[in-house]
């Protein structure tokens, strides 16, 4: 009987130690990949970068940021598309929500579909770190949220008009 009690005690102790470790593993309902590239259509008077659509998370005022996102629903593995997404948008502090569009991108010989939205950094947007919130809601009411960090820097070199 004592042995049984001792064994039960050890098992309970191991369970108590293991449980917090297991509970710390976060679980998501929707998986998201997010990046940003420079758009080729900055604000008037802002010099475009030499190459369009390069990855960056540092942007000058007046430059065009393009958010690119793809993802999947955790339990089914289905890719997020207009078939299973109720709404999707990007929220940048101080700006109106920007609706994400599902569309084709890339070379004509290898076009693939993912979500995008452009944003031109206003000329008076606060400088420094900014966190954009990406929100997806699926048709079966699951949410995918993603906080994306960027840096806004001054636009020192304005294109001569």
């Amino acid at each position: 009987m004592r042995r049984l009690l001792l064994l039960a005690g050890i098992v309970a102790l191991l369970g108590a130690v293991a449980a917090p470790a297991l509970a710390q593993v976060p679980k998501l309902n929707v998986f998201l990949y997010v990046d940003t590239v420079n758009g080729t259509r900055p604000a008037a008077g802002t010099k475009p970068r030499p190459i369009g659509c390069t990855q960056s998370n540092t942007f000058k005022r007046g430059e065009q940021v393009v958010f690119r996102i793809w993802g999947s629903v955790a339990d089914t593995g289905s890719i997020l598309s207009t078939e299973n997404v109720k709404y999707a948008y990007v929220k940048v502090p101080g700006q109106a929500n920007m609706k994400l569009s599902w569309g084709a991108h890339g070379a004509t010989t290898n076009r693939v579909w993912f979500w995008t939205t452009p944003w031109i950094v206003p000329s008076d947007y606060p400088l420094g770190a900014v966190t954009a919130r990406i929100v997806f809601k699926t048709e079966d009411n699951k949410f995918g949220n993603y906080d994306y960090d960027m840096t806004i820097v001054p636009n020192a070199a304005k294109k001569k008009r």
Binding site: V25, L28, F31, N57, N110
Partner: protein, 165 residues
């Protein structure tokens, strides 16, 4: 009567053709595939602490001799659980002509919004590495199977090596 039957038949045929056409959308190619079967894998390339811009700046352009830092996250389809070193057998970046870059795990803390970049690895581009786009793959093996990451096929946004400054 014959005309009515003919019209009904034409309308029904058109409806069937439309329904079949509507069900199929062959022109849509979701990236990276219509479904993620076992594991979702996400990867980005950022600058190293030695870079002029400082560490952690997102970019896909690196010069020969510079260090590329890969940061990655992975999660299990069905359960939604983020992978840890306990649930992962191997996780690495495969770069043409180079040894595999093993990704190492660091517990991400309590952040659950966004990608907790729990996995990182670095690659210093050899001085003689060919300039151009690097067709990298990130490969994962875990308890329930496999996962992988490939770059969005937009050439200017893929990892690119340029000549020395």
């Amino acid at each position: 009567m014959r005309r009515t039957i003919l019209i009904v038949a034409v309308v029904m045929t058109a409806a069937v053709v439309t329904a079949v056409g509507g069900a199929q959308t062959p022109s849509i190619t979701p990236f990276p595939s219509p479904t993620v079967v076992q594991y979702f894998v996400s990867t980005q390339t950022v600058t190293a602490p030695s870079a002029a811009q400082g560490a952690g700046v997102l970019t896909n352009y690196f010069r020969q001799g510079e260090t590329v830092v890969f940061r990655a996250a992975a999660a299990e389809t069905k359960s939604g659980a983020l992978l840890t070193d306990q649930s992962t057998k191997s996780f690495y970046v495969k770069i043409p002509g180079q040894p595999n870059v093993k990704l190492a795990y660091t517990a991400p803390g309590k952040k659950t919004v966004g990608a907790p970049w729990a996995w990182t690895g670095s690659w210093t581009v050899p001085a003689d590495y060919p300039a151009g786009v690097v067709a990298l793959k990130v490969l994962l093996k875990a308890k329930a199977g496999y996962g992988s990451f490939v770059q969005i096929p937009v050439a200017t946004s893929q990892l690119t090596i340029t000549g020395k400054a």
